[in-house]
Amino acid sequence: MAITDQEIQELTKIARKVREDIIDVTGWSGGTHIGGSLSMVEMLTILYWKYLSIQPHNPHWEDRDRFVLSKGHGGVGHAVVLALKGYFPPEELRDFNKSGSAFGMHLDCNKVAGVDCSTGSMGHGLSMAVGLALGARLLKKSWRTYCVMGDGECDEGSIWEAAMSGAHYKLDNLVGFVDRNGLSIDGPTEKVMGLEPFVDKWTAFGWKALPVDGHDFKALAEAIDFAHEYKDGPVVIVAKTVKGKGVDFMEDKAGWHYGGLNAELVEKAKRGLGGVA
């Protein structure tokens, strides 16, 4: 499923809109995990608009592909994508973080249409994704499972337990992504808790690990296409990204892991996105 230049142009426009909506929701809600949501926009955009086999009007469609946001704090980014896909009206996001709202920072699958797994606590999503992939194989279903992890999340031992089991059961219907933005809450991952040699670690755990530029649709498409063809086990796409990507004053700043935006900053952030609105 090679990607065309036209598709890339389309996806680039969508990604811009996703970022704009993330900024808006951050403004409405008082605060979101904006930095790590902006870094994974290209990954979510290419999955939701090119690869995932889903029916937004029928969110529980049995044969849909499954998507697990293991880095559950990226909930605002995921919610915006789901709204744009039509799972629910985008206006509902005006209630984000509000008392009694269906939407909090970490999305609840029993409250938000399109969310396959409730996540938020780090190091859980990959295990659930392994279970989904194992289940699909057992039930002889052809749907795939995609799982987006954070890099800081890979400090959790449970990620590596899950990685071992994914390789042990040779889950070729599972595609992992790590949003390698290099920052966790307390600072650069290599200072907080060294992850390197990160790609080698995944390789050593039995995964086919593909380092790519996580903001490059062409590179992401090639990696996902490869993963679909690869039959010797699971593939992980280690996507090098920039935390806060697209908003100049947030880029590569650990302080924007979580933050709020007043009206003035919302405008400033959107201006920083560049491109055509």
Binding site: C117, H124, L126, S127, M128, G131, L134, A136, S158, M164
Partner: protein
């Protein structure tokens, strides 16, 4: 019951441990329910889920010594439409995998069945690391979860069959094995959430669960014989949702309650019963018997039960103590407050 036809006789129950019966019942259920899958964390033989694995190798998954992942994968399998039976020791199910049980399985309300073996101090000589004396307290606090502590192998069979009727998470805490038989038959009307009266009585009620039920029954017989006391014994096999009606009826009829459990006195059966009594506003002499708030000793299970006064001797002592307490005439609070 979902698995009608699976029955055990006295002979089976005398020969088979709770774990062995669990393994066999699960095999029977596996025949009827093709979506049942078995999960182990390198304890397939110890938990007896290996029996299922031998019969259904394609539906059995080992995750190695990695309980957190096993519970997370169980959640994923349930989301794919399967019915995972997840087995490990109670200490690891409730503590090592605690948050995965809480967040992945209970929060998402998934149809996973946790068979937690080696509950309480039943793995005696293995020592405190392998005793589960906090598990009921921990898992009782998880919304959506049903918590069951069968008294013997026959009740384990009933509980494992009955948990299939619930579409949601169930935690079944069983022993290591060799627990003496309490029931003569599995046909006594087991129902999740309904206590079983094991011995009739109107002077005092002993509410027990798991391995202590047999001791409570034995104590009731002795108290009748030696003290002329009429002791009601309730097997509170379901800790959550607890049978409020049976507790309040016991308060009304006997006005004296002793709870007995192989678990820390904080947060388990005794606490659950106390909550019901306190909220009812009814006065009642009450004693929680269990493991005092300290870490357990090493020893044979029967010796540990004796040490913690939750065996027959201990129950005799506590019941006699509670019989000597005159709660109704107590109007002088000066020495209390």
């Amino acid at each position: 019951m979902s698995a009608g036809g699976v029955t055990w006789n006295v002979y089976d129950a005398d020969k088979l441990t709770q774990r062995e019966i669990y393994g066999l019942v699960l095999c029977e259920l596996g025949e009827r329910h093709p979506k049942i899958v078995g999960l182990s964390a390198d304890l397939a033989q110890s938990t007896k889920i290996g029996t299922f694995g031998e019969k259904f190798p394609d539906r059995f998954f080992n995750f190695g010594i990695a309980e957190q992942n096993m519970f997370g994968v169980g959640a994923g399998l349930a989301k794919a439409g399967l019915i995972p039976f997840i087995s490990t020791f109670s200490a690891f199910a409730s503590m090592r995998a605690c948050e995965f049980l809480r967040t992945d399985i209970c929060y998402q309300n998934l149809n996973c069945k946790i068979i937690a073996t080696h509950g309480g101090t039943s793995f005696g000589p293995a020592g405190t690391t392998h005793h589960a004396t906090e598990d009921l307290s921990i898992v009782r606090a998880f919304a959506n979860l049903t918590v069951i502590v069968p008294a013997d192998a026959l009740e384990t069979s009933n509980a494992v069959k009955a948990c299939m009727d619930i579409t949601g998470p169930v935690y079944i805490r069983i022993g290591r094995g060799f627990e003496p038989r309490v029931y003569d038959t599995d046909d006594y009307g087991f129902e999740i959430g309904k206590a079983v009266e094991m011995h009739p009585g109107n002077d005092v009620t002993v509410i027990a669960c798991g391995a202590t039920v047999l001791h409570a029954v034995q104590a009731a017989r002795i108290l009748k014989e030696d003290d002329g006391l009429s002791v009601r014994v309730l097997n509170m096999h379901t800790i959550k949702p607890i049978d409020k009606e049976a507790i309040l009826r016991a308060v009304e009829d006997t006005r004296r309650i002793v709870t007995v459990e192989d678990h820390n006195v904080i947060g388990g059966l005794g606490t659950a019963v106390a909550d019901v009594i306190a909220e009812s506003g009814k006065g009642c002499a009450f004693y929680k018997s269990g493991i005092p708030d300290e870490f357990t000793i090493i020893g044979y299970p029967e010796d540990i039960l004796h040490h913690n006064k939750v065996d027959t001797d201990g129950i005799l002592e506590k019941v006699r103590e509670v019989m000597g307490r005159d709660f109704e005439a107590e109007e002088d609070w000066e020495d209390e407050v």
